[in-house]
Symmetry: C2
Subunit: 145 residues, 2 copies
């Protein structure tokens, strides 16, 4: 298991334990985690704190030169908001736990030169499968459906 994806999964599990949507993310610079987070729709009534957004926010204000050397890990394929944010800050690489549950803007990211790696991790898939089975409406709200 990739050590940073494992940390993103820990974040997803923390979110689940809080009653939230179990998606987690870490932002890594120079092989160190500089921001970590998880979806906070339920916990904070937030419509913008997806896992990736929370990780970026928790990393704080960084220079373009730092972002340009970062990798963002996320347990689930990033939606258009999170992908747009990755493009805004010029993060060159995204590592995705799984994209069976949901396929975000991977194509757009690749077209814009972002390296996209999909791990196809069974733990990530199972967390989302069981969550969505029990929380279909909440999940749809999170992806704007």
């Amino acid at each position: 298991m990739n050590e940073f994806l494992l940390e993103a999964i820990k974040e997803a599990k923390t979110g689940l334990a809080e009653g939230g949507i179990p998606i987690g993310s870490v932002l890594v610079h120079d092989r160190k985690i500089i921001g970590r987070g998880h979806n906070r729709r339920v916990q904070n009534s937030s419509v913008i704190l997806h896992g990736e957004m929370d990780a970026l926010e928790n990393a704080g204000r960084q220079s373009a030169s730092v972002y340009s050397e970062c990798v963002i890990y996320t347990t689930l394929s990033p939606c258009s908001m999170c992908s747009g944010t990755i493009l805004l800050y010029g993060i060159p690489k995204v590592v995705i736990g799984e994209n069976e549950t949901f396929v975000g803007e991977e194509k757009l990211l690749k077209e814009r030169g972002v390296e996209v790696v999909v791990i196809n991790d069974p733990t990530c898939k199972e967390i989302m499968r069981s969550f969505i089975e029990a929380n279909k409406d909440l999940w749809n709200e999170d992806i704007g459906v």
Copy 2:
């Protein structure tokens, strides 16, 4: 002057008075403002609270059916993060104060079926022109440069 763009400009001016980046936004449903906000990079050390994101966050959790009837007004052309969020929530129309200072993802929005209206408002342009002249580094940070 469009009444809702005027409210977005008020938000931009509030941000400026707080020492922040002067970009404002309002989210309008059924001709009522349901969320308003402004860029909070400086005020909250936030990397995700652009004006549009703040307006959406302040509108709170809304159903897809509400978003599908909304118009978002913003003083400046929306960056890839804000545009991605507009796409995530299926907001069908964006009214932009100006796009001389910065051109965001207007082309992508249009390709995805979002109606994009640019007002080309002199007040919006002047607010950003004078701000960027005095705060070039801060502005670059906000757009990931």
